[in-house]
């Protein structure tokens, strides 16, 4: 059966709203990056965990013990790069005072990038001869072998300061408790929200949620970083506004006592009359339909066909 294909139906699989929202976030970030180049009075609130970096490095220098840094267990992605970016700040401070550092990586790609970035820091400081190639190590890509390796390192070397930033999973508490047992000062951040409570319990300072992403802007005050942080804040404000509008719209549609009834409901991308009125549910609301795309199985796009002898039997949707 042929059905008319509505405009935007090609976004049936992804939902136009999600695509538009992502585009909006990108525009906010890029616009504010440009804007930040022209303005230098943009405010970032105080983040205690990042203020503690100087104290932690100072403590390690006084004690003559190493600083241990772990950029999480994830692959080379935005989280790992952000973690290593924060660590370059730590390493810059440590390099000036000849404080030993150990950066433990659980992913070979992260290890490669970390090595290059840390070497660059020593180069920029003009003390390339102090760079120890073994200060950046690949321990293991096995989660608990990595946890055992890092814990052993912290215990044997009696680390004075530990920085755990990035994607941590179950091994987060192992790291935190081990560092706690040797009396190290700890600054941690996990992008996995389930590990944040463990870090909060055991660590001295914790960056929660996107304070982790704000770190590069906070430490460097570069226009690119500050601008993108402001763009992120604009996006969050937009989400808050959408939530408030959604609450108002849903309350109006469903009714404060959930008594409103409907006589037709959307099914397979088209409104159909119901046999009998029924109470409206969350799935019937405008906000829900906007976020949950519908796909009518009867839609058909007229397309030319492949010649029979070259048709690929296995491919296609």
């Amino acid at each position: 059966m042929l059905g008319e294909v509505p405009i935007g139906a090609q976004y049936a699989d992804t939902g136009w709203f999600g695509v538009a929202a992502t585009f909006m976030v990108m525009v906010f970030i890029l616009y504010n990056i440009v804007r930040a180049h022209n303005r230098h009075d943009l405010f970032i609130r105080r983040i205690p965990g990042l203020n503690a970096i100087n104290d932690a490095v100072g403590r390690a220098t006084e004690m003559g013990k190493p600083i241990v840094m772990v950029p999480g267990l994830g692959q080379l992605d935005a989280i790992a790069v952000q973690a290593i970016s924060i660590f370059t700040h730590v390493v810059r401070l440590a390099a000036r005072f000849t404080t030993p550092i150990v950066l433990c990586c659980a992913d070979p790609a992260v290890y490669t990038v970390a090595q290059e970035m840390i070497r660059d820091v020593y180069l920029q400081e003009g003390i390339e001869d102090r760079y120890d190639i073994d200060s950046v190590r690949f321990i293991s890509d096995r989660q608990f072998a990595f946890a055992a390796g890092v814990s052993g390192l912290v215990l044997r070397d009696q680390a004075a300061a530990c920085f755990f930033m990035g994607a941590f999973y179950a091994e987060a508490l192992i790291f935190a408790e081990t560092a706690n047992s040797v009396g190290a000062i700890q600054v941690a951040s996990s992008t996995e929200t389930t590990q944040t409570p463990f870090f909060i319990t055991a660590c001295d300072y914790v960056l929660i949620g996107d304070e982790f992403y704000a770190a590069s802007a906070y430490l460097s005050r570069e226009p690119v970083f500050v601008g993108s942080l402001i763009g992120q804040d604009w996006s969050k404000i937009a989400i808050i506004v959408a939530i408030v509008i959604g609450v108002i719209m849903n309350t109006a549609q469903i009714g404060a006592l959930k008594l409103n009834q409907i006589t037709e409901a959307k099914s397979d991308a088209a409104y159909k009359q119901l046999a009998a009125p029924r109470p409206i549910t969350m799935d019937d609301t405008t906000m829900s339909l906007m976020f949950n795309p519908q796909d009518d199985k009867t839609w058909k796009v007229e397309r030319p066909q492949k010649p029979k002898d070259t048709a690929d039997k296995g491919a296609g949707k």
């Binding site: 699989d13 939902g15 994830g74 989660q143 608990f144 994607a167 999973y169 179950a170 996995e192 929200t193 389930t194 590990q195 799935d283 949950n292 795309p293 796909d295 296995g314 491919a315 296609g316 949707k317």
Partner: protein
Amino acid sequence: MAKIIGDKLQSLPKYWLFAILFLVTSIPLFHPLSVPTPPDDGSADLYAHLMQVPAGSTILLASDWTNSTRGDSKGQFVAIIKILADRKLKAAIYSTADAQAPRVARDTIAEINAVRVKNGQPPYSQWNDWVSLGFYPSAEGQLSSIATDLRKAFASKTEQNPATGEQQDVFESPVLQKIYKLSDCALSFTITASKTSDLTVERLLHKTPLVLMVTGVMGPQTQNYYYSGQIVGLAIGVKGAYDLETLMAKGLNVPGGIVSTKIPASAPPLSNQTDVQSIGTLFYPPLQFALWLLIIMVVIGNVGMALSKMGAQSK
């Protein structure tokens, strides 16, 4: 005096705590106990959805766990395989999280089959009932590939056909011969202890109904997907495995079964009740004992703090 007692209560040696925990969690393993706890909504929903899948359908199963999280994940995996075997559903098993995972899955199915054969049941056989599609190091890429073109995502994978002894394309097996795209799979399961749960929701959403089975610590984060309707079932940790075993034994919203007010669907118990209760039922009581110990130690610590404060104030 109060201060001395209070200080002592706050500074109990941690090795004592470890010893007590070891004893307390070991006892229920030797003296099995029954703990009547109602199943979570996510587990009940998962069971209802799985029991409604027509016999002979294929489930896409991402087995992203290894023995490091076997306390949580193995019970979930065993429960799912038992349901699939009982209902004659087929499974295409792959992994994007850990290179060890495919072997761990195969070994676990072999354990299940050993018990099934001993009990006179047919084994859940490779090639006819399930295929192993292997490990793919890039989770993001592979999941995008599965969402776009499932046959190309698993192209060139072969397995041995037991009838002929030859290595054949997995898409010639009874498991995958009628599967051309992801929506041909009745459900997509992900049993994981890592962020592949998030990646699965990001990339496979709206292609086929999704079910996640995660470790206990990932539960709160993963619940968001269940509450928003992005996944149709969620099993969390040892409790999830225990819930599934309870539902497998008693059924959901059927006479004599578990009653759920929030999940309206009904689902019968498994037709064959032999060896239904295993890892979840075995590990759930030790979890209860550990939680009790945790509460007691927290109370002791706070009592100690209160006594220390009282003692300090009275001075």
